[in-house]
């Protein structure tokens, strides 16, 4: 003999009451109030995210920023920031600002494609942009303002037999005028070149 399935209203109420009371109790337990130290840590974490919410990696004919790509990506992963890789081409005054710059545009494409490939491998969303301008420094500062960037990343190299300041006028200008923090990575020329080559090989 098997009974037919029937539901008594009191049984239904009891079932709902058991479920809700148990789940509510467990939820309350798992959400204890935070200590002052934990609250402070959260504020700092939020602030840290704000600080690097957009990272702009700047590449140009006058900079060698490729070796800073891993740093920019790593910072972005940790802080859940977005990354914009910009290649800036400075157009001479004797040409119109939108003039075709075959070789430079090709190098820009290669550098940005390499950056995209590396970013994809480490799972970071990256936007790319090629900018033509009369003045590279001004263009970088303008992009930083437009993007409301919180971190600008540039790279440069110590050239062989160089004994003075490795920072070019461009880096000095950007450091002086950027609306955000600027990180400049300096590497020996040979190492930076090797890294760029390996990036390209990896892409190929």
């Amino acid at each position: 003999m098997t009974l037919t399935l029937s539901i008594h209203p009191a049984g239904a109420v009891l079932a709902v009451a058991i479920f809700i009371s148990t789940v509510t109790t467990l939820w309350w337990m798992l959400h204890p109030p935070k200590t002052k130290a934990e609250e402070a840590a959260e504020v700092i974490e939020e602030r840290a995210e704000e600080l690097v919410s957009t990272t702009v990696l700047v590449m140009s004919e006058d900079t060698s920023s490729e070796h800073m790509l891993p740093f920019a990506l790593k910072a972005a992963v940790k802080q859940r920031a977005s990354v914009l890789a910009v290649y800036v081409i400075e157009v001479p005054m004797q040409l119109p600002v939108n003039a075709a710059m075959g070789d430079q545009e090709r190098r820009a494409l290669e550098a940005l494609a390499a950056a995209q490939a590396v970013a994809k491998k480490v799972g970071v969303e990256i936007r790319t942009e090629t900018v033509k301008t009369r003045n590279t420094g001004q263009a970088i500062v303008a992009i930083a303002r437009r993007e409301r960037a919180h971190l600008l990343v540039l790279g440069t190299v110590r050239r062989a037999h160089f004994s003075g300041n490795p920072f070019s006028g461009l880096i000095e200008y950007v450091s002086a005028h950027a609306p955000c923090d600027v990180v400049v990575g300096v590497r020996p020329e040979g190492e930076a070149t090797k890294m760029l080559e390996s990036l390209k090989e990896g892409l190929g």
Binding site: M1, T2, L3, L5, S6, I7, H8, A10, G11, A12, L14, A15, V16, I18, F19, S21, T22, T25, L26, W28, M29, L30, P32, P33, T35, K36, A37
Partner: protein, 536 residues
């Protein structure tokens, strides 16, 4: 390698690795399994008043839980009830409470390893307790495995509790909600209570058995010294555990009394007479797997439940046994720290930072208890159950007295939770809050102790014998080491409390405590916390 005190370096301490869910799981691992063992026993004894027996025991359990919540959040150190009684009533009473709790935890190891194999025997009949030697060997293997796990470290065994606890809560919610939805009839519940009300003796027996379903809140206190932010977390995990277990126990007992089974034709006694659900579960042959049988009588769901609920029950028994290993070692660690047991029990293994010697010794005691139970044949489980009720009622009664004493003697310790219904009174010019509920709680636990003596013949002999043997050991140990026997050693509780709060990360509570005790003249204003830590 074990270390008591390394020269020039601080001795290894228990690490704070237990999260809120971990803390809850430690308690649930102990208490959650109890209903699997107790449901059949209680409905068998208290019949139509099984829900009343659970309600009375549950009420006492709520009071016990509230007392532990207040004390564990105020004194977040390993030791639980033993430590509270030590602080409130002095060394010898602290020893008695600790020794009684040790009895419970070692019984916990043995009892649940035993019933775990019993539950598994539903699926593998070879393991049934009637096959004495294989059953005993498998129980021993379970105890040995859990001992090794606990020696390796709290994080590893805590993870086991967390996962299995979550699975079991989901499982029990499914059983209760579906049983309530498809089988519960309130008219049948009332009818059963009216027609099958037990005698007073049967009801008292039912109540003393029902308390078994609620033993284990102690585990949360045991893990206090390894819990993150214990003063804030423990009140929440304790109250949540109290509520969940109470919801489950009351739901089970009411559903059983008012349940229309899916296959009533299975429920016949030896003479072929039709039985009600509670009568069927209360038969001696069914008592040790009552929850699995109940689940199997839920329409449709019962088909699946009949296969997996015994397995889940067995796994939960496993973690309950595991929490016994853990709890016994922590109690011994605490007792040795305060010179109630030899200092060997306070040694923490350098590699794993766990009290390895305590774990090994009290797992050994559990094995001895298993042997005693095994030689008693059919009465083996009853022997373990009687001792379980005796140990719990003894230690809980002392904890209530300690709570009252501590409210008076140590009003400054930060209590993030107070037992409700405190009555402000003035004694010897000191104003303090008298915990009325602690008195009710003491009356409840003490009455259960009396019920256990009245209704459990083995418990009334073996329980006091355990306490007496412990006291003889205590007297010998204290005399050999030149320690006072009846009086307490000198303790600097104020400095200890500051360091405990500092180590627990409860800095705001520590600041308040330091300010209060300095204002009361109990602590020198020029002593820094760093100095106290170094001195400790």
């Amino acid at each position: 390698m074990l270390s008591k005190k390394a020269e020039g370096a601080p001795p290894p301490t228990l690490r704070r690795a237990v999260t809120p869910w971990g803390s809850y799981s430690w308690g649930y691992a102990d208490v959650g399994a109890d209903i699997y063992a107790a449901l059949g026993l209680v409905v068998g004894a208290a019949a139509g008043a099984a829900n009343v027996a659970f309600a009375f025991a549950g009420l006492v359990y709520v009071l016990v839980g509230l007392a532990y919540t207040e004390l564990a959040s105020a004194f977040p150190v390993a030791g639980g009830g033993q430590f509270f009684v030590l602080r409130g009533l002095g060394d010898i009473w602290g020893f008695v409470a600790g020794w009684a709790v040790l009895l419970d935890f070692t019984i916990d190891i043995a009892l649940f390893a035993w019933t775990m194999i019993g539950y598994l025997s539903n699926l593998v009949p070879f393991l049934a307790s009637s096959n004495t030697i294989p059953h005993f060997i498998f129980v021993l293997l379970v105890v040995a495995g859990l001992t090794a796990l606990n020696v390796v470290g709290v994080r590893e065994s805590s993870r086991l509790n967390e996962v299995v606890g979550a699975i079991d809560i989901a499982n029990e919610l499914a059983i209760l909600c579906l049983a309530a939805l498809f089988t519960f009839d309130p008219n049948l519940l009332i009818h059963t209570m009216e027609t099958h009300w037990p005698t007073t003796f049967e009801l008292l027996n039912g109540v003393s058995l029902a308390i078994i379903s609620f033993v284990g809140i102690e585990s949360i206190s045991q893990a206090a010294q390894e819990t993150e932010r214990p003063a804030s977390i423990i009140p929440r995990t304790s109250i949540s555990l109290i509520l969940t277990i109470l919801i489950f126990a009351l739901s089970y007992s009411n559903i059983v009394l008012g349940m229309h089974p899916w296959h009533p034709q299975m429920m016949l006694d030896a003479h072929g007479h039709q039985l009600q659900m509670f009568q069927w579960l209360g038969l001696p042959a069914n008592q040790d797997h009552a929850v699995a049988l109940l689940a199997s009588q839920i329409p449709y769901y019962g088909v699946v439940a009949a296969l997996y609920v015994p397995l889940v029950g067995a796994v939960l028994m496993l973690i309950s046994s595991n929490s016994g290993v853990y709890g016994a070692s922590r109690i011994a660690y605490s007792m040795a720290t305060y010179h109630l047991l030899p200092s060997t029990f306070a040694a923490v293994a350098k590699r794993f930072r766990t009290p390895a010697i305590s774990i090994l010794v009290f797992s050994g005691v559990a094995v001895v208890e298993l042997i005693f139970a095994a030689v008693q044949g059919d009465q083996g489980l009853a022997f373990l159950g009687d001792l379980y009720a005796f140990g719990a009622a003894t230690s809980y009664s002392l904890v209530f007295i300690a709570l009252i004493a501590l409210r008076y003697k140590d009003p400054h310790s930060p209590r993030t939770y107070h037992m409700p219904l405190g009555i402000p009174i003035t004694t010897n010019g000191r104003r303090w809050s008298f915990p009325l509920l602690a008195v009710l709680g003491f009356m409840g636990t003490f009455s259960i102790l009396v019920f256990a003596f009245m209704t459990h013949p083995i418990g009334r002999i073996a329980g006091p014998s355990w306490v007496l043997a412990g006291l003889i050991f205590y007297v010998l140990y204290r005399r050999l080491h030149g320690q006072p026997v009846l009086r307490s050693r000198r303790h600097d509780w104020v400095r200890d409390q500051v360091v405990v709060l500092r180590e627990a990360g409860e800095l705001e509570l520590m600041d308040k405590y330091v300010t209060d005790v300095q204002a009361a003249g109990l602590l020198d204003k020029n002593v820094s916390v760093t100095t106290m830590e170094r001195e400790k």
